[in-house]
């Protein structure tokens, strides 16, 4: 057993080394020193309290979208729909605010959040129904639904909900304070982060230690045998997809409410895709996703800072994410191959 741990650590280190090599190659190609740039990024990510809070701001939707991928993955479903669910959640939550802008906080805020979660849940459950009833591959359906969701939000902000006061910029009205998710300790980090942490712990306990979680393991391992002993694939598909979608939708409405202050085009910078990456890096583990999401949140936040201060476009963060994903897949794939060969 010890030997396996050593081997896994070696492969993980190899993966990290591969990532650094790829990242360095890219940075050199665009004429920047790898060491200096990466060190600067680390500073932008976690160098002071402001940096840390900005990283956590990014980490919140990323973590929620990662949880939205991990839960269905425990049933063997591979969904890449975080982006679309996030947008639908923002859409539905904003609908409440736009229609009742003058409501009191104790009613408006919960309603907005609940409908936001519901929006994501519905969008995800749609793919779930298609999988459960018609055997439609959920990866393809969620990918297509992503594009539709973005178009629907554009439809709203360019059309009926467009705020005349925003001078041509496609966005809704500013959210009133009654619809703003409260922030923590005066920073931009909002309560959504706490919800994400709680969700990670609760889901971990539920999936690892309850009878229901065991049922998911059985169904994902062998659907026929699971059905034979009385488990229901269709029902569980809907549950995990809806719950996951709810988390992503919640992330969407929180982003809209707390960070952007209103619904506008370009709400998300690929949080759904990043969430998928984090889920994969964490080995589909709810608890491990937390520190990884924070790290990747730091990466994205540093990317924004790089664009601002070092004139390196923030698309570099996407490139680095891609390279990180590739390095991680190579390392874990080789490691698993080695283990199965040993038998």
């Amino acid at each position: 057993m010890n030997g396996r741990l050593v081997q896994r650590s070696l492969y993980a280190a190899g993966g990290a080394a591969l990532f650094l090599a790829l990242a360095s190659a890219f940075l050199l190609a665009i004429g920047h020193s790898p060491f200096v740039t990466l060190a600067t990024m680390a500073g932008y990510a976690f160098g002071d309290t402001y940096s840390i809070s900005e990283s956590l701001v990014k980490a919140t939707p990323i973590l929620l979208c990662a949880l939205a991928v991990i839960l269905p993955a425990r049933l063997g479903l591979i969904t890449v729909g975080g982006e679309g669910q996030l947008y639908l959640g923002a859409l539905l939550g904003t609908a409440v605010v736009v229609n009742y802008p003058g409501a009191q906080m104790f009613a408006l805020l919960p309603a907005m959040l609940v409908l936001g979660a519901a929006g994501g849940a519905i969008w995800s459950a749609l793919a779930g129904v298609l999988r459960a009833r018609f055997d439609v591959n959920e990866t393809i359906s969620t990918l297509l639904l992503n594009y539709i969701a973005v178009l629907l939000v554009n439809y709203a902000v360019y059309g009926a909900w467009k705020d005349p006061a925003s001078l041509g910029w496609p966005a809704t009205i500013q959210f009133p304070p009654a619809a703003t998710v409260p922030s923590l300790m005066g920073t931009r980090v909002h309560c959504g982060f706490i919800v994400a942490l709680i969700a990670a712990v609760v889901l971990h306990v539920a999936v690892t230690h309850t009878r229901w979680g065991l049922g998911l393991r059985v169904l994902s391992g062998n659907r026929k045998v699971g059905t034979m002993v009385g488990l229901r694939f269709a029902r569980n598909t809907l549950i995990v997809m809806a719950l996951g979608g709810a988390l992503a939708g919640f992330a969407g409405i929180c982003e809209t409410s707390a960070i952007q202050g209103r619904l506008q085009s370009g709400l998300s910078v690929g949080y759904g895709l990043t969430g998928f990456l984090v889920a994969w890096l964490s080995g589909q583990n709810f608890l491990r996703a937390v520190p990884i999401a924070i790290l990747i949140g730091g990466l994205i936040s540093a990317g924004d800072a790089l664009q601002l201060y070092s004139k390196i476009p923030s698309a570099s963060a996407t490139i680095l994410q891609g390279m990180l994903f590739i390095a991680a897949l190579a390392a874990s794939g080789l490691s698993t191959r080695r283990e199965t060969r040993r038998g």
């Binding site: 990918l143 594009y147 062998n222 990456l277 698309a315 996407t318 680095l320 994410q321 590739i326």
Partner: protein
């Protein structure tokens, strides 16, 4: 405008719209036929579009642009090949990783080309044929890429079903182990399948940017690669069926443009949902009947999580 001309315009618009998608769907069909699913075609198509546009803009030559696009597609697909074949990574995750890389690279290196213009290929028919009923408008709007794509469909289909290499590719896609047992080299075939898919998807992207839209915009493929993956299933992995299936999608895209331009009271964003909805409906119908008709290469079934019976 008389009816023939209208039909001519619609046919031309559909064919133009379908040409890039035909290429990428053919490429992904070949890849899936050897038992590999490559979601990275979206990133490969983007890479092809960006590289193709950049080279065409710099050299002024569309054909060189096409070649550059194809090369970019091959390079990116090589990443997928290394991850899946050499490292044993999960094919879906690897595809998403390739897509992420392609998205990032094209967003980064393509920003200087945003909004630029290139001259594409010359249309098939000059002003002299514009008056010919039905064919006139079609030839006036189509470039050589459209008939090339049609020829490619037939060629790929004949190759897959009527040659010994095509047979070997099909066997690898049905059973890796059986291919090995009868003396084939399945890993090599899968590598070829992935790279050919990369070449065709990169080429498709270059056609999109250089020939069809003649510009570059960030994330300009807008999910067409994923649509292609879905359409491969709808076409039952049969190159011949790819043509009608893609034409349906192309028709919905052409309709989208016409409706948006035609001043329909609906928001252009809602109209733009049409192609994706059409694709999703096609995939749903195909999935419903899959159990009864079959046709999925058996090796692919394990990737999609279905136990072989």
């Amino acid at each position: 405008m008389d009816d023939l001309t209208i039909i001519g315009h619609w046919t031309a618009a559909t064919l133009r719209s379908s040409t890039p998608l035909l290429m990428v769907t053919l490429g992904e069909t070949l890849t899936q036929r050897v038992g590999i699913i490559n979601l990275g075609v979206e990133g490969q198509m983007l890479a092809g579009a960006c590289a193709g546009f950049a080279v065409a803009a710099v050299t002024g030559d569309a054909l060189v642009g096409f070649a550059a696009g194809a090369a970019a597609g091959v390079l990116l697909s090589a990443v997928h090949a290394i991850l899946c074949l050499a490292c044993g990574a999960n094919q879906i995750a690897s595809g998403i990783a390739v897509w992420t890389l392609g998205l990032g690279l094209t967003s980064y290196f393509g920003r200087q080309f945003i909004g630029g213009k290139v001259t594409g290929l010359a249309p098939l028919g000059g002003p002299s044929v514009a008056g010919v009923p039905l064919l006139g408008p079609i030839l006036a709007q189509l470039t050589p890429t459209a008939p090339a794509a049609l020829v490619l469909v037939v060629a790929v289909g004949l190759w897959l079903y009527r040659t010994s290499t095509g047979l070997k590719w099909r066997i690898v896609g049905e059973s890796f182990e059986t291919a090995r047992a009868i003396g084939l080299a399945p890993l090599l075939v899968q590598l070829q399948g992935i790279l050919i898919g990369g070449l065709l998807s990169g080429f498709a992207g270059a056609i999109l940017s250089v020939d069809y839209t003649q510009t570059w915009a960030n994330d300009m493929t807008k999910g067409r690669g994923f649509v292609a993956v879905g359409l491969v299933i709808v076409a039952r992995w049969n190159p011949f069926f790819v043509l009608p299936v893609v034409l349906i999608f192309g028709l919905s895209e052409a309709a989208t443009l016409r409706l948006q331009a035609g001043g329909l009271a609906l928001s252009p964003y809602l109209i733009a949902c049409l192609p994706y909805v059409v694709c999703l409906l096609c995939v749903i119908m195909a999935s419903m009947r899959e159990g009864r008709i079959g046709g999925m290469p058996a090796e692919l079934a394990s990737v999609f999580g279905r136990r072989s019976r």
